[in-house]
């Protein structure tokens, strides 16, 4: 029951965050000293065309009125029309979000899958070779620019070895799976499309690793130190004294407790995954939200920028909420109040 009230309170909080974000983004986008219409219509548009365009998008109205119109639309689920693509922003987001979600989620899996065991092994094998290896790996991951890493991986795995594709979500001559969720991996599983499943996983590997490397490194480092911390605790001694084997002690008692601080870091790095997606999507020709956001910002496409920002304003606190619920799952004694 307490958890439910907590949950509702957090959701209400998110709504307030969104209103705040919407006001700030709206204000910032509209005080930029540049004209989105000039950007959209290009070099040669006549005054009549510009006026017509302005009227069509309501840009001729006072700012406060534009905001009211925008928010009224938002309450009805209408995010407005993109100035650049001339399509409803909601449609654009629906088209581009799944690709980014799939990529970020894959990156998260990669970083958990590599980062957690790496950190654990590193702690258990403290100051021995595996530990040194993991520490170098994390150090490099924390300092390597995504852009450079992506290009190096392409040059190795695509140009030299020809093992992995250089970009895109699917082989160029393959039809995407029938769209159910928009996530190619999920959709091809659901429709039993083996070729698309193979191809989309194949295409996910490099970008997911590139995007996830930074968080992998952070998670590994965090896991290592919290594991070291946990291993010094009394209950670990007790467990060992009970005669449990090292393996069991580490996995059953150590891992679970060491995960709690690491979870915080996982929540935080999810944010970095979303922002890192911009670069990763460019390098890997990945048709996602990151590139949509950049292109929109460059062409001063305010409705689109608003849409992306609001979406991020929902996703980020939701991810944090999930993390908090995760604490509860790991250790029911943690109270939410």
């Amino acid at each position: 029951m307490r958890l439910l009230t907590y949950f509702i309170r957090r959701l209400v909080g998110i709504v307030f965050v969104m209103v705040g974000v919407s006001i700030i983004t709206f204000a910032i986008s509209h005080v930029v000293p540049a004209d989105p219409v000039a950007a959209a219509l290009g070099d040669h548009a006549t005054d009549d065309q510009i006026a017509a365009f302005r009227a069509e998008y309501g840009l001729d109205k006072p700012l406060a009125e534009q905001y009211v119109i925008y928010m009224t639309g938002l309450l009805h689920g209408d995010l407005g029309r993109s100035i650049r693509t001339r399509r409803p922003v909601a449609d654009d987001l629906r088209d581009f979000l799944p690709a980014t979600f799939e990529l970020s989620f894959a990156a998260l899996i990669v970083s958990l899958f590599i980062g957690l065991p790496a950190g654990m092994i590193s702690a258990v094998a403290r100051n021995r070779l595996p530990d040194h290896f993991v520490r170098v790996f994390s150090l490099v991951g924390g300092s390597l620019p995504i852009f450079w890493l992506g290009l190096m991986l392409i040059s190795l795995f695509y140009s030299r070895l020809d093992w992995l594709p250089s970009g895109a979500r699917l082989d160029q001559f393959l039809d995407p799976p029938h769209s159910i969720t928009g996530l190619y991996v999920v959709d091809s599983l659901l429709t039993g499309n083996v070729a698309a499943l193979q191809s989309s996983l194949h295409h996910l590997l490099l970008p997911a690793f590139t995007l996830g490397y930074f968080s992998t490194a952070v998670i590994a480092r965090m896991m290592r130190s919290s594991m070291l911390e946990v291993m010094r605790q009394d209950y670990m001694l007790v467990a060992r004294a009970k005669g449990l084997r090292q393996r069991a002690v580490i996995l059953r008692h150590g891992l679970r407790n060491a995960l709690i601080p690491t979870l915080t870091i996982i929540g935080v790095t999810f944010g970095s995954l979303l922002s890192g997606a911009v670069l990763t999507e460019t390098i890997f020709s990945w048709p996602g939200l990151g590139r949509y956001a950049t292109a929109s910002a460059i062409s001063l496409d305010f409705p689109a920028v608003m849409g992306v920002t609001l979406l991020a304003a929902v996703i980020y606190p939701l991810a944090n909420l999930l993390v908090d619920l995760g604490y509860h799952w790991l250790d029911p004694r943690i109270q939410h109040g």
């Binding site: 040669h44 250089s166 082989d171 160029q172 001559f173 039809d175 070729a195 193979q198 048709p287 062409s299």
Partner: protein, 558 residues
């Protein structure tokens, strides 16, 4: 408690399997397995070119041209609306116009859907009559009639989107100007103040594309003239038709089975969105792309030695220039503007910065168009520039702001590098330039509002006719770049007169006079005309870049 971490491990195990499955796939079958599901994207519909149905085409299939380009400017494939580089490239290959330029020759007008045409005077008007070719069909199989032409042209005017000013302002057409005399004859009436030569040139461009009126009318909604449908469908008679457009991913074109001309050599064209030029280079070298558009001069140099790869160039009609606001002090003094022009190291820009990938052009009509004036009197002359400044009472120099776009300009060099070069050149004569780098859209906003001082930017003509440059550059009433630089000069009258001359030699002489005048009096320092660079697989044949910014896909083979 046990249950919980079992779940965790189960998740990790699943993740391992998934990863291994992908790796295994990578190691064993580098090209997609020829599953039934892999065919439809590449294979044309059964009706198209039945003799060459490719079964399960592998990457870089023999019947498909793979073209890597940055196509995030693509917003529509509707010929009446498309006005962006990528849109023009696609539309050109999907629609036919009444008349056309063939290859890269922009001076000799050839028949298109119109077999013949004539221009005659009728009182205060020009009357341009087009006689349509017999037997021409749209991709749908519908015959092409005069009604389709009338509908297509009226559609452009009624929609009034970005390129419509070419019909409305340049050719001065209204919806009533276009009439069908009979099923095969179209008469276009335009006032004497408009140029019939310019109109014919305009018809070779995207908005001259004839749409299948039956098909488009069937998809009209809310008076949009089918524009929402034509956004990502095609209804033309060109050599190709749009199979699909997946936003920010690719455009696939398939051969049009009802095309009236020589059938295309390759049955499909895949225009792939690859925004990062390093990726384009990698795909070209690996043979996955046949043609790539956005390599930098350094990348071109790097790939030119690679096996199976060649490089080629195309002309462009773009001009890089610095606009000088003619009402901002001291730029309002014609001597100061001449001094700025005289201080620029043009050869250094072309040979150094551009590695030779540009042509030294200093007048307002680019090489390739009628009326091109090859005079290039300026080369860096610091003494002369200083003397000019002294005459203007500016011997101590001055400080001024220059707006510069962010990113890379066509030709592959960063705008900032070009700006820095100009800054150092002008520093030699005591002119301190404060570079203000802004996004292109923002720059355009300030420039349009006459708020620039110096503005580093580029210009490309909208249709292959000298009037497409001379008008905007000299006539403040054209509300284009003469306006943006606040330059109001009587030369505009000569420009308006030149547009109406029908004799090409006479017309060229008129442009010689105009370009000579603007060279020294105008508010511009024209820097160069860039060359477009392409990386191409060595086995690709028949590629020729049209200076208007497109290529004929149907002549390309491999």
């Amino acid at each position: 408690m046990n249950k919980h971490y079992h779940n965790l491990w189960r998740l990790l195990i699943i993740a391992t399997l998934v990863t291994l499955a992908a790796c295994g796939q990578a190691a064993t079958t580098p090209t997609a397995a020829p599953q039934a599901t892999s065919a439809p994207a590449s294979a044309p519909p059964p009706t198209a070119v039945p003799t060459e149905v490719p079964t399960a085409a592998p990457l870089g299939a023999a019947n498909t041209l793979v073209y890597d380009s940055n196509i995030d400017d693509l917003i529509t494939l509707d010929p009446a609306v498309a006005y962006e580089f990528s849109g023009v490239l696609i539309v050109h290959n999907v629609y036919e116009g009444l008349v056309q330029f063939v290859g890269s020759d922009l001076s000799d007008l050839k028949p298109g859907l119109a077999e013949t045409w004539d221009v005659k005077e009728a009182g205060d008007n020009w009357e341009v009559t087009f006689h349509l070719r017999d037997g021409a069909k749209f991709a749908s199989g519908n015959p092409i009639t005069a009604d389709d032409v009338v509908y297509s042209f009226q559609r452009v005017i009624s929609l009034n989107k970005s390129p419509a000013f070419l019909f409305i302002d340049i050719a001065q057409l209204t919806t009533d100007s276009i009439q069908a005399a009979d099923a095969k004859t179209v008469v276009v009436t335009m006032p004497k103040t408009a140029s019939p030569q310019a109109f014919l040139s305009i018809l070779t461009f995207t908005i001259g594309g004839i749409v299948d009126s039956k098909e488009v009318k069937a998809h009209e909604a809310d008076g949009d003239f089918g524009s929402n449908w034509l956004l990502d469908h095609s209804a033309g008679s060109g050599p190709y038709m749009v199979a699909h457009w997946e936003k920010d991913v690719e455009v696939l074109l398939n051969a049009n089975p009802n095309y009236g001309g020589t059938p295309p050599l390759l049955s499909s064209v895949l225009v792939k969105h690859v925004p990062e030029s390093a990726n384009q280079q990698a795909e070209l070298e690996a043979g996955d792309a046949d043609l790539v558009q956005n390599l930098t001069p350094e990348q071109i140099a790097a790939v030119s030695g690679a096996e199976g790869v060649a490089t080629t160039t195309g002309d462009s009609l773009l001009l890089f220039y610095v606009g000088m606001n003619a009402t901002v002090k001291p730029l309002d003094d014609v001597k100061v503007r001449e001094a700025l022009r005289a201080a620029i190291d043009y050869d250094g820009i072309i040979n150094g910065l551009l590695s030779g990938n540009g042509k030294k052009v200093q007048t307002l009509v680019p090489a390739g168009l009628l009326g091109y004036n090859s005079d290039a009197p300026f080369q860096q002359d610091v003494d002369k520039a200083k003397a000019l400044l002294k005459e203007a009472g500016q011997e101590n120099g001055f400080s001024i702001e220059m707006l510069v776009p962010t990113g890379a300009g066509p030709g592959g060099i960063a705008w900032a590098d070009l700006a820095a070069k100009l800054q150092s050149d002008w520093d030699k004569i005591g002119v301190k330039v404060d570079i203000k780098q802004v996004a292109f859209a923002e720059l355009l906003g300030s420039y349009r509002a006459q708020k620039g001082q110096l503005v580093l930017v580029l210009w490309g003509p909208d249709f292959p006719d000298p009037d497409a440059n001379a008008g905007p550059w000299t006539d403040i009433n054209a509300h284009s770049i003469a306006f943006r630089n606040a330059w109001d000069d009587p030369i505009a009258e000569k420009t308006r007169a030149a547009a109406l001359i029908t004799d090409p030699a006479e017309r060229a002489a008129a442009y010689k006079e105009i370009t000579d005048y603007v060279l020294h009096n105008g508010p511009y320092a024209v820097l160069y005309q860039p060359t477009q660079l392409f990386g191409i697989r060595a086995n690709v044949t028949g590629f020729a870049w049209n200076p208007m910014g497109y290529t004929d896909f149907w002549t390309i083979g491999k």
